[in-house]
Amino acid sequence: MRTGTLIIGACQAGVQLACSLRELGDTDPIVLVGEEPHAPYQRPPLSKAFLKGEATADSLTFRTHEFYTEHNIELVTRERIVSIQRDADGGEATAESGRRFEFARLALTTGAVPRQIPFEGSELEGVSYLRSITDAALFERRVHTAQNVVVVGGGFIGLEVAAGTCVVGKTVTVLEAAPRLVGRAVSEATSAFYLAAHRRRGTRVVLNAQVSRFLGQHDRVTGVELASGDVIPADVVLIGVGVIARTELADQLGLAVDNGVVVDASALCSDGLTVAAGDCTNLPNPTPKSSATPGGIERLRLESVQNAVEQAKVAAATLLGLPAEYSTVPWFWSDQADLKLQIAGLSGGHDQIVLRGDPETEKFSVLYYRAGQLIAADCVNRPLDFIAVRAMLHSGQQLPADRAADLSLPLKKLAASAVETAPAVPVLIGK
């Protein structure tokens, strides 16, 4: 008899899904299976506090073992699922070890893996990626004794690591292939700020850097050679050039896959049975309709804690046959040295930006508009702007672009006063 839920991927989304099933009153067995040796833990601090020794494997653990026991959630570590068979009534998953897991309901929270680039010399010792706590611990040990640290990729992970390792006595170089930093996530104004801010803090940043190969001696990396012929000395290299959704199991199940496991707004996969959540999914833009404007993104992958948590809640409800639709304002954060970046909303397709505050002060926000409507903001050391924009995007409240730069009033107040002076909206009575 097949009963209960199998959740593949013991990560942020997987834990949330299990907890949400219990909160929704599900009393059937739940098995949460993952391939790592650790109980599920927070990943964001791995590129931040963990590298500085301010977090440990223990402190990053989401839940105690007692919690899983008390809530009758069976946590299975060190088991990598390699095949699944299922039909409408459930199925069976098989691990590499041969262990089998029967289920009535199935959830995929398989996450993502760092994108690998097959540079010559990638196999040299010291060339690192960062995804798991095991990766982070190894990288931290390597950095400890390194003089020259090279980061390939000027995105969030790369810049967080650069900021965390750039201490007196080490030379840290960031190599970015594009003409600007964090090009996929922020505007040119924000990119330019981060370039200047990292350089001020002693990190070398090379833009338009085409890596051609890694050089080594005695199987250990010693440098990175660029297409220009320049060689950057390196005792340790971190490659942070994005992640790829893990879709092997979805492929095997015959589910629609397109840069991630394709799900609908209720986190349901194309078979109408399996659910998926978190980094592994390709989902409809969850931005609330009230603040969505024409020309926005229709489908996307969201690599964020918020998405892992919120989409998993929806997936849990869907598994239990409860109506649920994922609607939220996506948000992201990145801590680099003493710079706290918080991003609310999706800025893709913006046609106007408003700068609020002076980047030179390292406290400013970039507000993005499309067709006159606020759609997103990058906030650097301005948490109140972030919170205000997030709330406005949730409620659909407007903030006229010509007033957003006024630093004499908090954004919350500017939005509120905009409402009072806005033209009256016709009200339909009696329908």
């Binding site: 964001p44 402190s59 653990t61 989401f62 804690v305 918080q342 948490p383 919170i387």
Partner: protein, 103 residues
Amino acid sequence: MPSVTYISAAGSETAVAGFAGDSVMETAVRNGVPGIVAECGGSLSCATCHVFVCADSVFPPMEDLEDDMLDGTAVDRESNSRLSCQLKLRDTDIRVTTPETQV
């Protein structure tokens, strides 16, 4: 081990054993105490671990960023509001009330 008591907005109490050095937020989340969301995992980015500290529980004063973030909580701040990710346990027992909602 200090005990941390979380009182929900409706008045129900959950007490868990904490460890000195852990935050009031971490202690709640790890033990599955409802009422504290902590979307950002304690990096002072989300203001979803808002609590009201009971009069008998004392913590060091807050820093500016926490003060700013408290202006953005879902339920309006009061004079005893704190973000529980910033409240580190010591050896004394603690009591906090959680707001009706965090998001």
